[in-house]
Symmetry: C2
Subunit: 314 residues, 2 copies
């Protein structure tokens, strides 16, 4: 069994590679190393069951080639910087939607029919009830990143309906943990490393979201992929509760030992245009498959802060 | 007030142009004439308030130019042939999703902030309850055309959330009527014109969908656009009931006078992979705005058959 992992040198991708190897898969990784890094998979590169290809999914010729002798595709690659869409408007279209098209079309041509896709809670938009169930509609994403995830979901289900594919679509909460390469905790630690007297927080700090530890994320993916078998399998992945940005700032200040740092809020209810102030996914459907998380939001945050302090170094 | 109508030389677009002119708008039409035709807007071309530009929305340079001095954009252009996606997989991506991106980005640059979008009932997929309300989720389109409509919706709502746009999104039932250029009635009449002894019907004829007469469609769009004013306004547009393909075949045979033609079914529950066998939209939300349709599905079908027989000629 050979799995292709797109974005396999990225934060979540690298953990998924570990999990797939553990489960007996051979793994081919394709990553353009734009946000991923060989450092994150260094421990796997000498493994004969792991193959790494540096390549960009926006080229269908590249994608066609890596699809040979693959049984299933875990499609995780994307632009991870949601804020970027406010400045450059075609990144998510190209690295999200068009990349997914290239994957699906290459799968069709190479007769690879199983796709596992990393979607996101941001497809729901900002007016969804909380916790948000999978059957909430209409999905009205407010970020260009969210639009590309919704577009990719639709492409995938159309390949199921038209070409007999099978799909596992996972809408992720905020995934955090070891090897993190972006996001609020990563940013806070870097800010305090540059200046340990103050921590600037985008927005008023009352943004409140659900956080899932990355190993919980990849373990739940593998659990659902190996036990649930409908043509389209759509699951929220998250934890049981939320954590505020204010609380994250406090934990980072505490764990970095920068207890004299002043926490300063830029104000407003969100970090940037397209940021969703409050998000919590219903995980009832995930729980019904028999998987439960090991971390709640706050313990996942504290665990991540400790890991990233070690990785980044103060 | 100048409105840009993409696909304005197409079936629905040409009727919308008529309606906009009636409402006092100046209208700029952009159409690549791939399925649209100057014949459909011939009666408007001498009107000084109507401007026609032949151009393709897949070129952002072209779109940037037509956006000057426009107040709002009615974005109707798309590949109208849903079946095509089973053969050529990038048509809907390019002429649907990427065209919509080009429209939005050109609007942003030119500070045009109101978009009215022709989406489709096919975004819901095939497992939706009937009649399907706007808040049904998750949307799991099974055709590549449906995927491009869902992708376009997400792009539009993300431009609302990120750049302060305002959007009216309409999920159309099957729109039929005068000047039709494609679809089941159009196909049936052409088949009987070629051979008046038999009519081949794709599928078992039990496909059953809701049909809306095209003038009802454009009048409801204008009614909702001029009376409802939220940042995102999402409405199903359809009629109160459905009509089966079998019944449509009977009406076509009757109205064409080919009463000896044998109606032959290719079998199976759908016309092609990605066809949705049964579709009916809830129109409660549309009705709540004060608009009601003039035609039900069967009277719209019979009216359309008569119009198209005259246009096509037997």
């Amino acid at each position: 069994m050979r799995a292709l992992v797109t974005g396999g040198a990225g934060f979540i991708g690298s953990h998924l590679v570990d999990e797939l190897i553990e489960s007996g898969y051979a793994v081919r990784i394709i990553d353009n190393l734009s946000s991923g890094s060989l450092d994150l998979i260094q421990h796997q590169l000498s493994n004969p069951k792991v193959e790494f290809i540096e390549g960009d999914l926006t080229s269908i010729e590249v994608v066609m080639k890596v699809m040979e002798d693959v049984e299933c595709v875990f499609h995780l690659a994307a632009n991870p910087d949601i804020r970027l869409g406010t400045q450059i408007t075609d990144t998510d279209l190209k690295q999200g939607t068009i990349a997914t098209y290239n994957i699906l079309e290459s799968m069709r041509v190479n007769e690879v029919k199983k796709i596992i896709f990393a979607s996101s809670s941001v497809v729901y938009g900002e007016d969804a009830p909380m916790p948000t169930p999978e059957n909430h509609g209409p999905c009205l994403p407010i970020s260009l990143y969210g639009a590309s995830k919704l577009a990719s979901e639709g492409l995938i289900t159309s390949w199921v309906g038209t070409f007999g594919f099978q799909a596992w679509i996972f809408r992720f909460a905020n995934i955090i943990g070891e090897r993190g390469t972006h996001g609020v905790i990563f940013d806070f630690i870097h800010k305090l490393k540059r200046d340990n007297t103050r921590l600037e927080v985008l927005g008023n700090g009352l943004q409140e979201k659900s956080y899932m530890e990355v190993k919980d994320c990849v373990k739940s993916i593998m659990h659902i992929f190996s036990t649930i078998d409908a043509p389209i399998n759509l699951y929220n992945l998250g934890s049981h509760d939320t954590c505020s940005v204010r609380r994250i700032a406090e934990i980072v200040v505490e764990e970095t030992g920068c207890s004299n740092a002043s926490i300063e809020y830029t104000g407003g209810d969100r970090g940037w245009a397209g940021d969703i102030p409050r998000a919590m996914l219903s995980i009832e459907k995930m729980l019904s498959t028999g998987y439960d998380v090991n971390y709640n939001s706050e313990t996942a945050v504290r665990h991540t802060v400790r890991c990233l302090i070690e990785e980044i170094g103060m």
